[in-house]
Amino acid sequence: MSEENETSVFDVLKKINDNAWEVPVGFKPGMNVPGRIFVSESLLHLLDMGTLDQVANVAILPGIQRYSMAMPDAHLGYGFPIGGVAAFDKHSGIISPGGVGFDINCGVRLIRSNLTEQDVRPKLSGLLDELFEVIPTGVGSKGRLKVSDAELDDIFVHGVQWAVDNGYGVKADIGHCESKGQMSGADPSTVSLRARKRGRPQIGTLGSGNHFLEVQYIDKIYDEEAASAMGLREGQVTFMIHCGSRGAGHQICTDHLQVLAQASKKYGIPLPDKQLACAPAQSKEAQDYFKAMVCAANYAWVNRHVIMHWTREVFERHFAADHGDLGLDLVYDVAHNIAKLEEHKINGKNTEVYVHRKGATRAFPPGHPDLPEDYLVVGQPVLIPGSMGTPSYVLCSTEDSMDISFGSACHGAGRVMSRKHAKKELIGEDIRDELSSRGILVRATQPSLIAEEAPAVYKSSSEVVDVVHDLGIARKVARLLPMGVIKG
């Protein structure tokens, strides 16, 4: 903890440009590279020393390339900061579960429709009631989907392909998930019985915390060409799903963290924070974690896929048409807690690195081989959810994203107020009423959860997105305003 430290972030940071600041090597002993924080000057005022400290800690880890980064929505986390991105050399670097987090492949997907705001508004309340009924949310809720152990293995290895083969979603969805919703390299033998026990009953559950399902409409298009490639237009209704790998991912991280905490000692890796426990990238301990992490990532894609499928069914019932006619197509699905082996140009040379993104979205440029054909020209869609009452954004990645940030962008608005503080300061019922008077309906298991996730506890999503846009990592395509949200 940064005990009553009088130093301010402005004393430490060196300005690179209006939206990039450097944490110099030497800010903490042992830093291999500088830190780089992508924020505007006004967002910098919201950054605390603890976050800076966590950026510096990551820079101490072996084999880190270029710099330890923090996206504009960065805030204090555990291990890596939230919004932290770092790339480690495939051979001389490390892999750390602290750079991914417990909610492996927590992520966001966006589904468009042929419906307009006017079509949906009169039916919104009933629609939300049924969504809240059909999609299990909150602590202690169990999924409607029962899978066997063999099916769970299939889910770990085949991800979204399993879902589509079993009647959840359609083939066209697959290409619109990052990594096709099926990251390779999964090995279910690295997943403990305990993680299986937690994961089996939870497929198709939203969870709690900041996870949500939101019905939205597009109120502004910034980039016609990209919007049209993504099938987005003004006035159109969309829905967004934000959740992750549930107990399966939490337990996989917990299990492997214990192994890696001991491995760090064995390999003599100095840890500025034990939560950064790690091992050399090619060691058995690191690779076993990575294989298990891939299982959790594939599980999370299935989780969001199943929730999308049930949401489509609810829309079908309310609008008496099938989801094809309603145009309920998956625009894209991005992971924001994940580590991946990727090729990046470092000092002019193509180099394989394990990029860790913790609370950060991949943002691959136009023409990148990992993109589906329909986004090759405009670049990867980047989905940035706002908070309950504030806009979400769709962006598209640009050519420069690889050089600026290892192909990474922010993942949300970023918290500024703790949950404890929020519960003390804010009254859930009041916030629900205030949102409702603005036409935004909320369904939540507890009013206190609305307080914990109130708009006031987050930074302005617009300001965060502007930094990404101005830096040239990704361009704004569309703005989405909330109509209704369900939360656990």
Partner: protein
Amino acid sequence: MEERFEYLEHTADAKFRAYGKTIEEAFENAAFAMFNVMIDTDTVVNEVSQEIELNSEDIEALLFNWLSELLFVFEVENLVFGKFIVDRVEQDEVGWHIYAKAVGEEIDLSKHKFDTEVKAATYNDMRIEQISDGWMIQATVDT
């Protein structure tokens, strides 16, 4: 010692300090602190008891294990706890051990009002220290 535990400021997660006259009591209060993030543990009826015995390489790992195990049982056995009884925390030549019981009841969503779920225990900024009149545990849990 007046307070069993107190919460510290943390933007995204829940961070706390738990106290005890003995290390056992500090472990009990760390569990209370973690569960009170999710639910007022005073509302839980203590009728089912679950034995928990764990072994770890060092005391930090034991605390991480203890909190992680409670979350595992909470989720898999569908139990919520209102009482933690730590009989012994001890060290021998192979490592650290805890012998404990978690007491509570089956989760009933019509009765138990849960706030945000604790996803996991973490090692972040973990401290286990002897203080003038006992022990202090500092931990951060992921919410």
